[in-house]
């Protein structure tokens, strides 16, 4: 097997035994990038020299007898939403073209400290707003399973990079499904942690009460290895939780007997492609065979998730994106301006793409005098009801199961015209962000030769439980070992 086909865990074992060097592993992934990146277009920036330099340092440390972590020398791709010191960070937007952050995001720093060479910055929907990566201001990323289809989004570059063997692990961010949905569409595993489990410091904010950083990888074990690096309190993010971090790899016991699963009927009904639904039902039967009990649950307020999300997320985005004003960083208009307000308005109008402009306008509207109570406050109240539905479901169930995406990957350009159609791609993932809980997507079958993802949701801070379920499924099946041919 070639090095780019191995999982991070397998690479880590070979690195620790001295069978391969970090430089060899990194060079193998860049050789793969040279070969297939022109077809996939997963990256906005490649950082070959830096990656090889870090790999050399890891090899030197290992040669010197240093005790290194299990991911030392394993390459990683970073979504361009995370600040990387000295490396251009655009967030998929023209407004940040040329921006070179003077600091690392905490998650990026943790990966550096774990000895993971960064191969590059992955493409994404502009400001993480989208479900296909078509909203990137720079390029369209293609699904490695079918180059005419989207990889999902907004972490589409991260997902395509892992699925194409360009990096064994990638970091993404998830506000309404942006890790899980592209993981599902690209046939890989992806975890959105509990809100507060992973630091958001240096994550360019979209919707601050929903955003989380997490891993995309070839299997659940690699997600667990990465979570051992990422999780934990960070003084630089006051919303990061002071909750003990378990050993997520040790939690993968393979034993799920006695666990109780619920299947929310609202996430298996209208709008779910029948073949996707049948594939999910087969995966659920498989989990029953491993000793889990399964029953249907009702979560009536979940039906309002999309409406709640599009008010809360856009309101928070309108506030967060106020910082892009052409003064401290990013694009400034070349046109003559009357005053500083004109400078802001023209710079922003030129720098933001259409979807970002739409969401800023919607959010500003929802927060404006006369509409605040009817839209923003109302959405926050219905959010409470949705959270209560999850709390009730988790009283009797350890995990909840659903499709990750209602369909397999759709064609490039297919949904680009209707603002609501694209948003329906996220109906199964959005409720999870509103409730703040963790959820995992794992491949569980194929429809039309394209991967289908099973979503496993858990109680707050129960990443260990949902990864135990996902890993047990992967020990019993081999969907996660299928690779796209390029």
């Amino acid at each position: 097997m070639k090095l780019h086909e191995l999982t991070a865990y397998e690479l880590g074992e070979r690195l620790a035994s001295g069978e391969v060097s970090a430089v060899e592993v990194t060079e193998a992934h860049f050789a793969r990038i040279d070969e297939v990146e022109p077809k996939v277009d997963a990256f906005l920036t490649l950082t070959r020299d830096q990656a090889l330099e870090q790999a050399r340092q890891i090899d030197d440390l290992r040669a010197g007898g240093e005790k290194l972590g299990p991911l030392a020398g394993v390459p990683i791709a970073i979504k361009d939403v995370l600040c990387t010191r000295g490396v251009q960070t655009t967030c998929g937007s023209k407004i940040l073209e040329g921006f070179h952050p003077p600091y690392d995001a905490t998650t990026v720093r943790r990966c550096r400290d774990a000895g993971m060479p960064m191969v590059g910055k992955a493409n994404m929907d502009e400001f993480a707003m989208g479900s296909s990566t078509e909203n990137s201001a720079y390029q369209v990323t293609r699904n490695p399973w079918d180059l005419d289809r989207v990889p999902g989004g907004s972490s589409g570059g991260s997902a395509a990079a892992v699925a194409a063997g360009l990096a064994p692990i990638a970091l993404g961010s998830d506000t309404g499904g942006s890790i899980r949905q592209p993981a599902s569409l690209c046939g890989i595993s992806g975890l959105k942690p509990t809100y507060g489990r992973v630091s958001r410091y240096g994550l360019i904010a979209y919707a601050s009460s929903l955003d989380q950083v997490g891993p995309l990888a070839k299997d659940v074990r690699d997600c667990a290895l990465t979570m051992n690096v990422l999780a934990g309190r960070d003084q630089r993010d006051a919303t990061s939780a002071d909750v003990p971090v378990p050993d997520y790899v040790a939690a993968l016991t393979g034993d799920v007997s006695g666990l109780r699963a619920g299947v929310p009927r609202e996430l298996m009904g209208e709008g779910i492609d029948p073949q996707v639904k049948a594939t999910i039902e087969a995966a659920i039967t498989e989990l029953e065979g491993l000793g889990m009990s399964v029953e249907e649950v009702g979560m009536p307020n979940v039906d309002f998730s999309l409406a709640v999300y599009y008010l809360i997320a856009t309101a928070e985005a309108a506030s967060n994106l106020a910082r892009f004003d052409g003064v401290r960083f990013g694009h400034r208009t070349d046109e003559a301006v009357e005053d500083v307000y004109d400078l802001f308005a023209k710079s922003r109008g030129e720098g933001f793409g259409p979807e970002v402009r739409l969401r800023i306008m919607l959010g500003t509207f929802a927060l404006s005098a006369g509409y605040y109570d009817a839209y923003y406050l109302k959405a926050q109240k219905v959010r409470t009801l949705i959270k209560q539905d999850f709390d009730a479901a988790f009283e009797d169930h350890d995990v909840l199961l659903s499709p990750t995406s209602p369909t397999v990957a759709f064609g490039i350009g297919e949904k680009a015209d209707d603002p609501l159609q694209m948003k329906l791609a996220d109906i199964c993932t959005i409720p999870v962000n509103l409730a703040g809980i963790p959820a995992l997507s794992i491949p569980c079958g194929m429809v039309d030769s394209m991967p289908v993802g099973l979503q496993i949701m858990g109680r707050p801070f129960a990443e260990d439980t949902i990864m135990r379920v996902g890993d047990a499924y992967q020990q019993a099946t081999d969907w996660h070992t299928m690779r796209a041919e390029l």
Binding site: G98, A238, T239, L306, A307, G326, V340, F365, S368
Partner: protein, 97 residues
């Protein structure tokens, strides 16, 4: 909801400090209307006794020691600015003589 009224879109664009072309206002009247129409289904939900959720994981005030940590140099702070001089960001005049 039908299209959002043009004067509402123009007012919101002023609040958002976002310069829009005339065609862009046409587009936004329609697309905002389409999404707000979907959002209007929330009006049917009874939320009389319900508190809004702004932070989903229970957490009270977070304190830390007031200690000086590592920070950026002035050069790093202004290093990405489109226009800067002497460690200051430069903007058009904002105070009249």
């Amino acid at each position: 909801m039908p299209d959002v009224a043009r004067d509402v879109v123009e007012h919101v664009s002023t609040l958002a400090r976002l310069a829009l072309s005339s065609e862009e206002i046409d587009r936004l009247q329609h697309e905002m209307g389409r999404i707000l129409e979907h959002a209007d289904k929330l009006q049917a939900v009874n939320t009389d006794e319900i508190q809004g959720t702004s932070h989903v994981i229970p957490m009270t005030n977070v304190y830390r020691e007031d200690q000086v940590g590592e920070s950026l140099t002035p050069e790093e702070v202004v290093g990405n600015a489109p226009d800067a001089a002497d460690d200051f960001f430069k903007v058009p005049r904002i105070v009249e003589d």
